[in-house]
């Protein structure tokens, strides 16, 4: 079973909640489609982004049994990282190529 776009946004927000536990209260990432994730205007540094990606992948595997490697996608599609919404769109697209978790 593959998640809907709304369910993917839910996974992304859950992951941001966990990433935010590692950040000072004034630097936490807003859970909003417009939130820019990385880059000059982004809210996550490289380690924060690694944590975020790993969490999204893990939740996807745990909830839907799907293995997806988002880091590869992210490095090849910079536009995908622009904000939460574009990340979710790209993520949703990649799921069509994903394989069930073994």
């Amino acid at each position: 079973m593959k998640p809907t776009k709304e369910e993917l946004i839910g996974i992304i927000y859950e992951s941001l909640d966990e990433v935010n536990e590692q950040l000072p209260s004034d630097q936490r990432v807003q859970k909003s489609p417009d939130t820019i994730l990385v880059g000059r205007a982004g809210r996550l540094d490289s380690l924060g982004f690694v944590n975020f990606i790993a969490l999204v992948e893990e939740k996807c595997a745990h909830k839907y049994g799907i293995t997806v490697s988002l880091m590869e996608a992210s490095s090849s599609e910079e536009a995908a990282l622009e904000n939460v919404k574009s990340f979710a769109d790209s993520f949703f697209q990649r799921l069509s190529d994903a394989v069930p978790e073994v």
Binding site: E18, E21, Q22, L23, P24, S25, L47, V50, N51, I53, A54, E57, E58, M71
Partner: protein
């Protein structure tokens, strides 16, 4: 607090949790480059040591710091002696680094279960990975034993708490992060708990409700025969286990107390008569069993125990009572409590607020001493005049110089005492001992006993000699013996020492904290001259009067008898001697 995290993997996530987890203490931590463990440990001049960290965590993978262990993982033969030698070398590096901080934490070694794939051979004598892992951990622990500032931590506990994804392959290959964040969160909880314990901020008392906490049901309605406790009942068995854990905490020196809305006679009968009760009235340092407001009862009880509200935890099954007490007493820790009695033990053991680096004889005897305190106070209530009552106690104060034997308890007292504490210095055992051994310093411990029993080592006094003046640096007394003229006995020792050393003036600088007003109040009435806002002075030409009802015994090498040729012999010093 400043923390330094040294690791051979990316430990930045632990640093982030330490900094941003809301519970005290507030931590500012930094990490070192994760390829340089040995270099960092051995290089005293490395930049990371320049701002002396308050604590250090050294968390390594065995395959990264022990070459022979790496061979075992690769199914190559390894030399056992070489492996032991590598463990010893790592231990020596830790020992060296421990001198640059007050506390060095060493999580034990663990390996990913993906390595333990040799089945029956995992525990074999020659090549078993799991067996070798156990052996290197034991060897590391044994070589670190006795180092007062080194604290090994049990990594396997964090791994178990984190569950099957504790070793996170995604994080490892994406960022060289060894563990899942659940492991780092568990480590953060333990580290903060340890730091609170080292800083004397561990909780000292658990105040318990009775109905639906120590037993199931309402004893006032069913009588003790009708409550749920023990037997062939899941909740009953769980409550017996819960009481066992409470008793184990009491053996570690955590006081147990009761605040419950009940008829005292009915409740105490249940505690005394129910055959499956693990805890009996003797296990409780105090109780308020009545129909008054619980918050008021808690304040009353803590006053009796002579402890601050922030040193207690209140456990109650009722969310209404918890909310009421939280609102009335914000200093008190009132944890949420599960509805399901089978989860009580887990809830208790998850509190992370009783951590202490020491377990002294005084800790083991604390419950008994509290019972004795209660009897002593009852005797006080029967006599109208304080002096008359003190005279009946037949108090003996045994004075001893700080030494290796009394150091653990003395350091514990220094770090845990808040109320009667002149300077409120917090120091590790090693730092305190090194400080005390300087030529111009004297440190004594005071052990108090009376006709009711031994209160144990309950006082510390340190004096720094500077030409014609001597400054009292530490004046520390356990709240258990405050107000029994022990304070005056301690001052008399300081002044007697100063006289022996030809000192003209003894003075004390009071360093105010939110909790040490009792110390200020004592110095105000002590007879010392009040020189300014925080300085009290005594002219050493005058003897300081010792209360005549106290027998002062100087044991061993107590330094105020510097001129005595018999200083190694026990000596009785009466008030006459000091006059």
């Amino acid at each position: 607090m400043r923390g330094l995290l040294i690791s051979d993997f990316n430990i930045q996530n632990l640093s982030s949790y330490l900094k941003n987890e809301p519970n005290a203490p507030v931590i500012d931590s930094v990490t070192t480059c994760y390829a340089e463990v040995f270099q960092t440990l051995l290089d005293d001049t490395a930049p990371c040591w320049s701002a002396r960290p308050d604590f250090v965590v050294v968390w390594t993978r065995p395959e990264a710091v022990l070459e022979e262990f790496r061979k075992l993982l690769d199914c190559c033969s390894a030399n056992r002696e070489d492996l032991n030698g590598q463990v010893d070398a790592f231990s020596a590096a830790l020992r060296r680094a421990s001198k640059r901080t007050q506390a060095l934490f060493v999580p034990t070694w663990t390996i990913s279960p993906f390595h333990q794939t040799q089945g029956l051979l995992d525990l074999s004598a020659n090549s078993g990975i799991a067996r070798a892992l156990m052996q290197i951990n034991v060897r590391l622990l044994e070589t670190l034993d006795g180092l007062p500032t080194v604290h090994p931590l049990w990594t396997d506990k964090w791994i178990q708490l984190a569950g099957p994804t504790a070793f996170n392959q995604r994080l490892w290959y994406l960022g060289k992060i060894r563990f899942s964040n659940d492991v780092f969160k568990a480590a953060t909880r333990d580290l903060k708990s340890a730091l609170r314990g080292l800083g004397g901020r561990a909780k000292k008392v658990i105040i318990l409700d009775l109905d639906d906490v120590l037993w199931g049901g309402i004893v006032g309605e069913t009588g003790w025969q009708g409550v749920t406790l023990g037997g062939h009942d899941p909740a009953g068995e769980a409550l017996v286990d819960f009481q066992r854990e409470l008793k184990a905490l009491a053996r570690r020196g955590i006081l147990l107390a009761i605040v419950s809305k009940n008829d005292e006679s009915i409740a105490t009968e249940a505690i005394a008569k129910h055959p499956e009760m693990v805890l009996r009235m003797d296990d409780f340092a105090g109780w308020r069993i009545n129909w008054r407001d619980k918050a008021a009862n808690i304040v009353d009880l803590m006053t009796e125990l002579n402890l601050g509200l922030d040193s207690a935890v209140f456990v109650d099954d009722s969310p209404v009572e918890r909310a009421r007490v939280r609102e009335a007493l914000p200093q008190l820790f009132v944890p949420d409590w599960p509805l399901d009695k089978r989860l009580y033990t887990e809830a208790l053991l998850s509190l992370d607020c009783f951590d202490s680096p020491w377990l002294t004889e005084e800790d083991r005897q604390r419950v008994r001493m509290s019972a004795v305190d209660r009897i002593r106070k009852e005797s006080r209530d029967q006599v109208s005049d304080l002096e008359e009552w003190l005279a009946t106690l037949k108090t003996t104060v045994k004075v001893e110089e700080l030494n290796r034997d009394n150091l653990p308890r003395a350091a514990q007292l220094l770090n845990k005492t808040n109320q009667m504490n002149l300077s409120t210095r917090r120091m590790s055992e090693a730092d305190f001992y090194a400080w005390a051994k300087a030529q111009d310093r004297r440190v004594w411990t005071f052990r108090v006993s009376d006709k009711f029993g031994d209160s144990g080592l309950t006082g510390i006094l340190s004096l720094e000699l500077d030409g014609s003046r001597a400054r009292i640096i530490d004046f520390v007394l356990s709240c258990r013996v405050i107000g029994r003229k022990i304070e005056e006995a301690m001052l008399s020792v300081a002044i007697k020492c100063a006289q022996s050393a030809g000192i003209r003036e003894v003075y004390a600088n009071y360093c105010q904290t939110p909790k040490n007003k009792p110390c200020y109040a004592f110095f105000q009435r002590s007879g010392l001259t009040y020189r300014d806002e925080s300085t009290f002075v005594w002219d050493s030409a005058l003897p300081y009067p010792l209360y005549s009802g106290i027998r002062l015994v100087c044991d061993g090498e107590a330094a105020f008898e510097e001129t005595s040729t018999d200083r190694n012999q026990s000596e009785l010093i009466t008030s006459d001697h000091l006059r």
